[in-house]
Symmetry: C2
Subunit: 621 residues, 2 copies
């Protein structure tokens, strides 16, 4: 039995496995917030030919069903079938979200004024070859030579000892010993001046990004990236935690992300002719759940009150334990987490922003499925996370998609004709709308009077751009030959909820420390999302606070940037620990003030328009 895809590929299929699973097993990932449970309605594919059994069409609209769209996760082939995968159902990775915005990654390190000091050190030893009269064991000989160089506390793993005898003899007793900064022996070999390398890994809920870095000068050899394959078990961390608690689920999740990392790394090493033994340190940055899953630790207590992770700070375990295919004794540094919903990625972000070094007060926001916020300066830091929902990543929005090729990323609407003009990522035919496009569109709809402060469409406008469907009114952004792209009232509600959560988080956090917005000198915005954001429009819908534009800085993927810094600098690692240690974590879900702030922020831009003087000015016009 076969599934043929209209674009070309033919896959082997079996009757008991859904189209979704068969595609996934063949490396074709579909958008799915629910992990293939028939709930989210995002994994739409179209059956062009052949018989299939449809178990459920939940969330599909009448029109979709008429056009033979099915949910891939709830449809099973019953013979050879031909399918079409719409662009918006297919997960495709964007290049832009990989790199830190800092133009030159080495400059970035220098800008932090840090010396290069990786997790591992190297020392050259000329051991005296043993003789019949100097017949101490290999290990004692090595220990003695180290001791003569002032190193008395080295620990030797069984794995190291197992290869030591041969390595010493092969190198004729003249060796370079690599060891961790915490004095654990890593490797031993002839002094050959070979370059050595480390990897920095950002494990996002959605993407995994890997930097391959040379120690000698901190040079970035290459970058690799992939979707986090854990997505097959659900788009968000909560769904994945639930999966982890099911039989074998944790191993699935651990293996998925380790395979991703190894799958990115192997071709990079091959391309640059680097032996995996010469990659002898790693830094990992991710949210608290990603960090637990990276180490194969049960994350289940994260989602149960009082929301406790097993580990916030991670012992320096090694690559062999994690199953990263580099030198198995390579130490792995995990960016410390602050709480269940503020992880090492945020600590990395604060580190990369350098806000923890400045006396002036800064605000850091990492915008994704969760909005993580940190406020503070060189004296103090406070942090919180608010659930924004996945709408800015394209989920829960009718034609939502990530900021990849074909996404409408900016929108202008003529206030007279109500016609839209827009730009599309990659310049292609639009196939959906991404976060920045939504913000633009909602901002424009609002200022053209098409939607009111609650995000409801005006019912009396004379325009065929607004259409009323079963689920309510929607604005037609693009009427294409293949596809019409709309923004529904429900979509707008979702965006308003998300922006309200973020704004309320910022307000509560500032109130908690008795400060007001005007004291904030810098606003750093991180996350893949940040690359496309129009600040003015985001202020206009009340997503970002109404501060002078020059106070805002986009700093891109700050999680990988922080990981890179920690890979190369002991000082940076110490600072990361300090940041995590001094950050006060505030649990918004139990904050009384949060709900009030949230309710007030469910308006465009806000119930209290005085908080948005710029917007008020426009509005008056």
């Amino acid at each position: 039995m076969e599934i043929r895809i209209a674009s070309g590929k033919t896959l082997h299929a079996v009757a008991c496995e859904s189209i979704y699973k068969t595609l996934k097993d063949n490396g074709i990932y579909l958008v799915s917030s629910c992990g293939g449970k028939g709930v989210c309605g995002k994994c739409r594919v179209r059956i062009l030919e052949g018989p299939s059994r449809i178990e459920s069409t939940g969330k599909l609209r009448k029109k979709d069903i008429e056009e033979n769209f099915v949910l891939a996760c709830k449809t099973f082939p019953e013979g050879n079938i031909l399918i079409e995968i719409p662009e918006e159902s297919r997960l495709v990775i964007g290049d832009k979200i990989a790199l830190s915005k800092s133009k030159d990654i080495i400059d970035f390190l220098h800008s932090a004024e840090a010396f290069i000091s990786p997790l591992v050190r190297q020392i050259h030893l000329d051991l005296k070859p043993p003789t019949i009269h100097d017949n101490t064991s290999d290990l004692e000989r090595l220990k003695k030579a180290l001791s003569e160089r002032g190193i008395n506390t080295m620990r030797f793993s069984h794995r190291f000892a197992s290869s030591m005898a041969k390595a010493l003899r092969d190198a004729s007793w003249r060796v370079d010993v690599v060891y961790t900064e915490h004095h654990e022996a890593v490797s031993l070999g002839p002094p050959d001046n070979r370059e050595r390398y480390g990897i920095a890994v950002d494990i996002g809920t959605t993407t995994v990004v890997l930097y391959l870095v040379r120690y000698s000068d901190g040079g970035l050899i290459d970058v690799g990236m992939t979707y986090n394959s854990q997505m097959r078990f659900g788009d968000d961390v909560i769904t994945r935690i639930v999966h982890a608690t099911e039989g074998g689920g944790m191993q699935d999740l651990h293996k998925a992300v380790m395979d991703d990392i190894n799958d990115i790394l192997a071709p990079l090493l091959e391309k640059h002719a680097i032996r995996k033994e010469d990659v002898d340190s790693a830094v990992v940055s991710g949210n608290t759940t990603m960090a637990q899953l990276f180490w194969g630790l049960d994350p289940s207590s994260i989602r149960e009150e009082p929301y406790i992770p097993t580990l916030n700070t991670f012992p320096r375990w090694n690559a062999g334990t994690a199953q990263i295919k580099i030198n198995p004794l390579a130490p792995v540094y995990t960016l410390p987490c602050v709480g269940s919903y503020v992880g090492g990625d945020i600590v990395a972000g604060v580190l990369a922003s350098k806000m923890h070094r400045n006396p002036e007060i800064s605000l850091f926001m990492d915008i994704g499925t969760n909005g993580e916020i940190a406020v503070g300066n060189s004296e103090w830091l406070i942090t919180a996370a608010c659930s924004m929902g996945p709408c800015f990543e394209g989920s829960g929005i009718r034609h939502g998609m990530r900021a990849t090729e074909g996404a409408i990323e900016s929108v202008k609407i003529d206030p007279v004709t109500f016609e839209a003009t827009f730009s599309v990522v990659g310049g292609a035919t639009p196939s959906g709308i991404c976060g920045s496009g939504m913000i633009d569109a909602i901002s424009e709809l609002f200022f053209s009077g098409m939607i009111d402060q609650k995000g409801k469409f005006a019912r009396n406008l004379q325009t065929d751009r607004i259409k009323v469907e079963d689920e309510g009114p929607e604005y037609i952004l693009h009427r294409g030959e293949l596809k019409t792209i709309v923004l529904t009232e429900v979509d707008i509600e979702n965006v308003i909820r998300a922006k309200a959560a973020l704004y309320a988080g910022v307000s509560v956090l500032l109130k908690e420390v008795g400060l007001t917005l005007d004291i904030v000198e810098r606003v750093y915005i991180g996350g893949g999302f940040g690359n496309y954001l129009d600040i003015d429009k985001a202020i206009m819908i009340g997503m970002l606070p109404d501060l002078p534009k020059e106070k805002f800085a986009f700093i891109g993927n700050t999680s990988i940037a922080g990981a890179y810094l920690c890979l190369l600098s002991e000082e940076m690692r110490e600072e990361a620990e300090e940041i995590a240690g001094k950050m006060t974590y505030m649990e918004l879900s139990v904050s009384r003030g949060f709900m009030d702030e949230y309710m007030s922020a469910l308006f465009l831009p806000h119930t209290n328009i005085d908080l948005f003087p710029t917007v008020k000015g426009f509005y008056k016009k």
Copy 2:
């Protein structure tokens, strides 16, 4: 195809596998010094019925061949066969060699004036359950509680962290934490006052002995013992080292001894209803090669000049690494070795003898395939090993066997009639002669004038007790219905070489430190062999120095006794390290004096009879 054994069992056989291998695979071990290579001629079995292919009969005598004896390792069944395994070919284990001679093992500990302080400690912690306002991670919570109790340097393995979250919650945050004396977390659970246990293991080249010990009072719960299955790869350490260098050989050897340990342990735990998680420390004592093989480390450099082991002192790796089936995080203490041929078993022996605590000078001898000697006192210690050959363990002697049931262990010979009377271990029909029997017999043959100072039979004696065969003359010890037991001139030569090596070792060692025998106050004799030794006779053949009998003490299996002490006492472990640290290791194989001393000692009792005044006295009579 089947091999039926006359005594009952029937085994499945295949044509390509030797009888030796089929027996071995079914747990029936034959004596074999060469590990089944057709060299030693010890694995004799008799084919009673059925066809077989005989590849070699090397070392079998004409008469053997006539009686259908074959070498089991060089004979392959070609159909169903019926065989008989002579007693002397079968490896059987003796009970006596297991136990330390000290009557009461706990008294032994007290006699060392050591407090009970195992490798692991336990602390009770009442953790505050987390709340939404006190939401640090599980590990930080645990660290904080430990810190409040003054423990700030605990290390947490990945394995420990993996089970921690559940264990804390299952115990409602009131836990006992077990950790090593070097502050590595081992386990965590509810405080249930359950007894906890450790194991002490003596890995001899020939036997593996295991003590199961309760911490609370040091009580010996049970003892287990088995042959070291590494024997299937060769009787002595050198043969095994050679095997280790062959493909997969090291894994064979490591697995063999680990299986032995686990096979002894499992039934003991079942018998006493002890959970393996509650066994959370282990001590291992063995010679340097055994210690390397226990840890799966390549021993090959031990047999190549300048004879360097990979490790003499062993990091405190855990049971999981060693693959002992107890708590996988249990620390394993390995008795430190001194050199390639003086191992942890000798350090354990010196420790158990307590000679390192006394100002008077003592001599310690561990007699086995190797004779290891230590001389010294509380100030200094010097040690050496001399190769005695396996004759005292029954190998290389026509009717030699270990001191197990059926072994002639003491002999008297009438100087007039030349008739022998003897006692047999277990009182059974004699099936061979063990080390103490040989010493007795040679001593008696010498003093009755049947052999001369060189160990050659007098040719002019009128007795049918002496018979001349192809290989030379031999003395008939026992003329049995089933079996005649003889001692050949070649056997006697072998014993003289062995005793000469031991005596020469002692002489050289004493000379090295400028002392003479009369200054030695105590002579401790350890090893399984020591249990049966007649001191007077051993002096008479010049094996032991001619000192007053009251200076000698048998202390049995000192290796297991030392391991037991180290299992229960930090002080003992420190003393073991001190002993190993201060012992000077002398390599006899390169000592110029050794060869001279050895040549002089190839006489009964010695070329210089003045060294043996007692013997001289007898001799005059």
